[in-house]
Amino acid sequence: MIYFNLFFGWIKQEIFAIPGRVIALVFFLLLIALPLVTQDPFYLRVFTLALIFAIFAASWDVLSGFTGQLNLGHALFFGVSAYTAGLLNIHLQYSPWVTIPCGAVIAVSVGLFAGIPALRLRGFYLGLVTLTFPLILLGILFAFPNFTGGELGVSGISRVSSSAVVNYYTAMVVFTVSVMIMWKFTDAKSKLLRTGIILHAIREDEITARASGINTTYYKFMAFALSGFFAGIAGGLYVHYMRIAGPQTLDLFFSFQAILWTIFGGIATIYGPVAGVFILYPLLEFLNLTAWGELLRQIIFAVLLIVALMFMPEGITVWILDKIEVKCPRCKVVNVFYRKKCRACRAPLHLVRESAHQYNKGEV
């Protein structure tokens, strides 16, 4: 009983008192509950793909958001892993449990290779070089159509399971683990790993980072490798879900989609890209259901992005958290917005500028 009380107290302190965590918990519970509510294949398909794309977008955030290495060809990692997993499955009949990690490992090595220009180039120049990588790979794929299927891609790949619900839950478990790892890796406040603070330092001021003894080369490669790994995981999952590894996994627009989702949700946050994917992707898919939506979806998408960028330049999650959370000015503990005093140190949360009139009347 006492343990139960302790546990409940902990939950109350660490989750229910912080609005952001409540939202995360509700989101997670909704994800678990979805197949219990509906088993409609369309909804399951949309949300399974959203889970996969969320891993993909978050992995872009690790590299470009946190480390500041602008990568415009992130589909490279996704596509490499997709083709690796697909070809291994088709030609050698390996199960998805082998092919997905294999694809991710290949994506890591490609990530390390793609990291080499990052040592020399910065900003848009790096972006342009990374932009060409998927195009080069596409050229190679089209040069060997017998092996890679050319423009049609490799089809007939086996699924993780024949049941849509099992596929959904597999994607969900992989998503949860991946996002937790990426979040811990990049979180500057983490007590477990110090990498978050180092990545932040490199993004902000590489010279000072060097002068403080940070091996920036090492951490840049680490970010490339980790980002490649999780993009590879997403690529492998995608290929075993869609049962086809085609050139669209290396598509230019697919790379940009990761950037759009991340910027819409909130760059350099990890939860931002997840929120971005889960808002934008289902929305566009559901618009497809109606006749007018199908015509207007691109326009709606564009308008939504422009409005979001105008009014929430740091992303929708940052904007919302800013509205519902208040950091105590004294002890930096996060509080709900309607509290007047900090829950930890009782310091007043909002500065009250009382007018002379109120003061004279003794109201303050």
Binding site: L119, R120, A188, R194, I197, I198, H200, A201, E204, D205, I207, T208, A209, R210, A211, S212, G213, I214, N215, T216, T217, C331, K332
Partner: protein, 249 residues
């Protein structure tokens, strides 16, 4: 902890920034490097701390990115020019950049933690943090403040604190007094003396001759990339040419 810079030359493309500069700093010393704007003081410190070597690698092949770096920097019997920047920091030779250059979006504490990243022992980090807070009580008051919002003097102190977190044995301080009010300057003066009192060797560049001459007993005068003179403040001031041409007194 002896530092010996032997005939170091730095060229950006064809512009000579440092021309055969040599100096030495003995253990426990505090040495000043004075000279007018564009003399190459900052470049010298950057070369010692390995940043020029890195820049040379990073800018290779770009327009105007051809950097020549010659000579040797001997610290504890090792050539620092052959090491990378973080390896130099690991050996206790740390640079405090001009105007502190904090990580602006991080809090003061996070800045200090970023400096401590080479140290693996949590207990040692705690001790170092205590030491830094003792030395700079103002940083303790600013612990949770975003580093972009602290004042110039605090930024310099933060940079020194960050170096101490990296367990510096030898500090290269670039222009500590730049842009500070006289009162804050005097405060910083005392702090640097305290740091020196902790047994840390210091080489600092300075444009404020008075500040530097009060702080250090031995000075080098650098001008247009060349070493012009070396000596105690009295010696330098007694030389009419040096005093008029380079010190402006």
């Amino acid at each position: 902890m002896k530092l010996e810079v032997n005939n170091i030359s730095v060229l950006y493309d064809r512009a000579v920034v440092l021309n055969n500069v040599s100096l030495h700093v003995d253990e426990g010393e505090i040495v000043g490097l004075v000279g007018p704007n564009g003399a190459g003081k900052t470049t010298l410190l950057r070369a010692i701390s390995g940043l020029i070597g890195w820049e040379k690698e990073a800018l290779k092949g770009t327009v105007g990115g051809k950097i020549t770096l010659e000579g040797s920097v001997n610290y504890n019997g090792e050539d620092m020019l052959k090491l990378r920047a973080f390896e130099i920091v690991k050996r206790g030779l740390v640079l405090c950049p001009e105007r502190g250059r904090p990580f602006r979006e991080m809090t003061v504490l996070e800045n200090l933690e970023a400096g401590a990243h080479l140290c693996k022992d949590k207990k040692v980090i705690e001790e170092n943090l205590e030491r830094v807070y003792e030395l700079f009580p103002v940083l303790k008051a600013r612990t949770n403040q975003i580093a972009g919002t602290i004042s110039g003097g605090e930024r310099t102190m933060l940079a020194i604190g960050r170096s101490l977190m990296a367990q510096a044995r030898f500090l290269l301080i670039d222009e500590p007094s730049v842009g500070l009010a006289p009162k804050i300057k005097a405060d910083l003066f005392e702090r640097i003396k305290n740091v020196h009192g902790m047994g840390i060797t210091i080489l600092l560049t300075e444009q404020d001759i008075g500040f530097a001459f009060d702080l250090a007993k031995r000075h080098y005068v650098l001008s247009q990339g060349q070493m012009m003179a070396e000596g105690s403040p009295d010696q330098l001031l007694s030389d009419e040419v040096i005093r008029k041409s380079y010190l402006g007194l």
